[in-house]
Amino acid sequence: MTDAPAPTPAVAIGGSAGAVQALLRILPVLPADFPAPVLVVVHVPPDRDNALVPLFQGKCRVAVKEAEDKEPALPGVVYFAPSDYHLLAETDGTLSLSSDELVNLSRPAIDVLLESAADAYGPALTAVVLTGANADGAEGLKAVHEAGGVALVEDPAGAYSAAMPTAALQACPAATTMNLDAIASYLSHLGTA
């Protein structure tokens, strides 16, 4: 039950209003042999089928799928949280879903993903908070930083909606601010340093 942190690197990304456009600037840049799983929470309406997967599948070199309960998080795969479920990273390298109450009025919530991923991956995690009109992700990013992970925030000045990146920077002043192209470039060079 107290496994060592998963040795492989991982990436976790959260966003809300404007995040689909932002992700379209990031995920298609990742190479097919990307060395980490990419866990993504985007706030989407709960009653809709998740349209994100087909949208990104056609545009990415990495594999893109909806996260399934208890599946292993594999390198080179983007996992979107299903609508109406929280997505969590487990310390054994698998993913789990939960139907727990809304967090920050959202399910999936970015805080839930980032806090669990901070716990599961520790310093091997790179977390990104993108554009959004609320404060979800701020506490999670702080947890990522405290666990030794890399905390990145989309530059509020260029963001579609500045509230979420601004809140993340307030909660986690040590986070690095980057524009979308810099985030894409940073991530695509993960593991090649």
Binding site: T2, D69, L88, T91, S96, D100
Partner: protein, 274 residues
């Protein structure tokens, strides 16, 4: 770095909870349990998980307060209307051929799924021949399910879901509004047996024609999921149906061979003879 001490504290608390009270969360999916325990620690005002454990061992009233954090899911009536539509249009025509029916709502929490099924069976004229079993490990949740009272502001969503599920009546026919609460018609539970039952530690539960267990298995780790599905397999009558949550599946289960996919999209399975 991961806080190894806190993980040890969680292991010890789960062990204490099991040995002292026989509530076994040791094989629950860990990330979610940790989140709930941290929330319980903070909101119940304990400085650490160990302090919470100390209180749990020496002060039995802490148990009830902790269980509230560890078990209760907020659901909706007719959550995922497509599931209830599939029951109505595809499963009930099969069930109609039986002179008497048993339905088990496993992990009924506050009863939203139970009342949804009771209303569905009433609308389809099957209620009179059915006995519903509603089980949960949390006695407080069972009491809430037995009371059938929900905040009125949730009824708008319940009503929309009911209509989308193909409801043949108006949900307002089944409750009275009173001071911000919706009180459901007690005749809906005249054929319901409420019972304390654990999928983790308890045994097989009768010859069921339909087991509905939605968004419970996702809280279990793989071996525990296998135990629970094995329990469902043994509890189902021949050709009985098992309905899971929309993101749950038997695909990775040790018992996958004992079931056929009856409605793949809505996660409804049918027991096959071995």
């Amino acid at each position: 770095m991961r806080d190894g001490v806190e993980d040890l504290e969680i292991d010890l608390l789960l062990e204490a909870l099991f040995q002292r009270y026989h509530y076994d969360f040791r094989n629950y999916a860990r990330a979610s349990i940790k989140r709930r325990l941290v929330q319980a620690r903070d909101q119940l005002g304990f400085p650490s998980i160990s302090a919470l454990q100390d209180s749990l061992l020496h002060e039995p009233s802490t148990l009830g307060r902790l269980l509230g954090y560890m078990t209760v899911q907020v659901s909706e009536m007719f959550r995922d209307p497509g599931y209830f539509r599939a029951l109505r249009e595809k499963v009930l025509p099969h069930l109609r051929t039986y002179p008497s029916l048993k339905v088990w709502v496993a992990g009924c929490s506050h009863g939203e799924e139970l009342y949804s099924l009771a209303i569905l069976f009433r609308e389809e004229g099957l209620e009179e021949r059915t006995i519903f079993y509603a089980t949960d490990i949390n006695p407080t949740a069972l009491q809430a399910a037995e009371a059938g009272v929900y905040p009125l502001d949730r009824l708008k969503k319940f009503t929309a879901n009911h209509q989308k599920s193909g409801g043949r009546s108006s949900l307002s026919d089944y409750y009275t509004a009173d001071y911000g609460r919706a009180i459901f018609d007690k005749t809906l539970r005249s054929r319901v047996v409420f019972s304390d039952h654990s999928l983790v530690t308890d045994a097989v539960f009768g010859e069921m024609h339909l087991i509905s267990c939605r968004n419970v298995l996702i809280y279990f780790d793989r071996p525990l999921q296998d135990r629970a599905v094995g329990l469902f397999r043994e509890s189902l009558a021949r050709k009985g149906f098992l309905g899971l949550g929309s993101k749950e599946s038997l695909r990775f289960s040790a018992h996958v061979g004992a079931f056929s996919e009856f409605d793949r999209d809505e996660k409804i399975y049918q027991r096959q003879d071995a």
